[in-house]
């Protein structure tokens, strides 16, 4: 429940995804972080059917976060979002006629969870159909609720273990400079994950033939 930033870490030169993740773990442990279990964030895509063919079918994303295991988030990209109970998945099965599950488009990020002082760091491997696509790092500074206040602080912290690949202020925050980050929703966090997943999904399309 604080300010969260999700960013992508490029795979190190000449190393595999797993090796880069191990390097990050080692750097975190050197800093003094303590491992506290694991996490998983996943995202499923649904096509909206039943609309007239003139409109492009909108994509509905249903996401889960192990940080809030009893809820699930459904959102349209850039559009409205809904926070529901975990039973929402079952509801989506019943709505098969309106929303079709795009199987094979399920993206998930799985990894370990570290705690350092008041920071929560999650380093995960992003996989799509069991092939590793990239590395996601989520840093959460729990005591603060206004992102504009603590951005410099978080950037300094991320620099200490990510090195040069420190991201800019996420676009979700740029939209609300003085606003209250509503942590109970975790909408902003999931929106950032969605952006990351979409970026990684698009990345693979020109490169590989495996589909």
């Amino acid at each position: 429940m604080g300010v969260t930033c999700v960013c992508q870490v490029p795979v190190a030169e000449g190393k595999s995804v797993q090796q880069t993740v191990d390097m990050l773990h080692k750097k975190l442990e050197q800093l003094g972080a303590v491992k506290q279990g694991s996490f998983c964030v996943d995202c499923e895509t649904y096509h909206a059917t039943g609309n007239s063919s003139s409109q492009p079918s909108k994509l509905l994303y249903v996401m889960h976060n192990s940080e809030t295991p009893l809820s699930c988030l459904a959102l349209f990209e850039g559009g409205p979002c809904l926070i529901a109970d975990a039973n929402f998945d079952v509801l989506m099965v019943k709505l098969k006629s309106h929303f079709q599950n795009a199987k094979g488009h399920k993206v998930e990020s799985r990894g370990s969870r570290y705690r350092y002082c008041d920071f929560l760091i999650k380093v995960g491997t992003v996989t799509m159909s069991s092939s590793a696509r990239g590395i996601s790092v989520e840093v959460e500074y729990c005591p603060c609720v206004v992102p504009g206040d603590c951005w410099n602080l978080m950037k300094e912290f991320m620099q200490s273990f990510l090195g040069p690949s420190v991201p800019e202020l996420p676009s979700v925050f740029a939209a609300k400079p003085e606003g209250l980050f509503a942590p109970a929703d975790c909408v902003d966090t999931m929106t950032q994950y969605l952006e990351l997943f979409n970026k990684l999904r698009k990345l693979q399309i020109p490169g590989s033939n495996v589909r």
Binding site: C117, C144, D149, L153
Partner: protein, 323 residues
């Protein structure tokens, strides 16, 4: 022949004139200590002087090492001599005549009931304790931490007549002072509760950064606890929770600093000035996450932002950077 005395002591337990310490060996041991000291200082003098001049570098080094070894061996010899002598000196007898308590030493079973030796140790320990306590109290009295206008000691007779007027204030006056201070600072809201009797409990909300609970005793600040903006302030009954610590380390640190501050700002005769200074100091935390440390220039130290605010200048420092 003098060495026999410690052995013979066991036979002559009641003979109080017998001194168990071997005085001759004692004086030899003292001169042994002096010899050891002089040989050790000779070693260091030699090291200080360094290598003496010879033709080749090797010659110099060899000469240096051999002399150094000689000096160290002299030290070793003196040390061994001293150990031998100290073995002869013996322990001071515990059968000294200490009036009535000396009669305790007449108990022959020394191993199971070492009463007398324990008594002596306890006595020495309590003497030392008293000495250290008097030193500590003289040091502590220099920094007076009394926060009431009471005078202890000399005016004990007059105390019932001189009632400290600042401790007994009408609640309405306290309310007025607090609301006046609340209006001074726009980004700070102060709510006053009276959950237990006449003592006021304030809930201070500072912007979107923190919430502080200040427990007062008439107009004196008694204790304070600081929690994050998103933390729960009320407990299950719906009353203010004044005991649970914050779950975040940064706010636990700020609570410690706030406690230091309320001990620092003291003026028993003018408590409203004290409350105002404390609130001004607390208000400087509105930029807790935005400021960098004035000394090292960084934002984080051990994962914590600069949590210390100087009492006079209100500048931000890390706890480990403060001067």
């Amino acid at each position: 022949m003098q060495e026999q005395q410690p052995g013979g002591k066991a036979e002559k337990m009641a003979d109080v004139v017998n001194v168990g310490v071997n005085l001759d060996a004692f004086s030899h041991a003292i001169s042994g200590i002096q010899a050891l000291r002089s040989s050790v200082s000779r070693v260091f003098e030699f090291l200080k002087d360094g290598m003496k001049n010879r033709e080749t570098l090797e010659g110099r080094e060899k000469q240096f090492i051999s002399e150094f070894q000689e000096n160290l061996q002299a030290v070793n010899r003196d040390l061994n001599e001293l150990e031998r002598l100290s073995g002869l000196v013996g322990r001071p007898s515990e059968s000294h005549p200490l009036h009535n308590s000396g009669l305790l030493s007449l108990d022959p079973v020394q191993d199971k009931t070492p009463l007398y030796s324990q008594l002596l140790q306890a006595y020495k320990w309590s003497n030392k304790l008293q000495y250290h306590a008097s030193l500590a109290s003289s040091l502590l009295n220099q920094q007076s931490l009394k926060r009431s206008a009471n005078q202890m000691g000399a005016s004990a007779k007059r105390r019932p007549k001189v009632q400290p007027s600042t401790l007994v204030l009408p609640p309405q006056y306290v309310d007025d002072v607090i609301s006046r201070i609340g209006r001074l600072f726009p980004d700070m809201t102060i709510e006053l509760f009276r959950p237990n009797g006449t003592s006021a409990v304030l809930l201070v909300t500072l912007g979107k950064v923190l919430k502080a609970i200040v427990v007062m005793r008439s107009l004196f600040i008694d204790r304070t606890i600081v929690r994050g903006f998103n933390e729960n302030v009320y407990n299950e009954d719906g009353k203010l929770d004044i005991w649970t610590k914050s779950q975040y380390q940064v706010f636990q640190k700020v609570t410690d600093h706030a406690t230091t501050a309320l001990l620092h700002y003291q003026l028993p005769q003018m408590p409203d000035v004290v409350v105002r200074s404390f609130m001004t100091w607390l208000r400087s935390y509105i930029k807790l996450f935005q400021s960098s440390c004035q000394r090292c220039g960084r934002f984080l130290q051990d994962g914590l932002p600069p949590t210390w605010r100087d009492f006079r200048t209100l500048e931000a420092f890390h706890d480990t950077c403060r001067m």
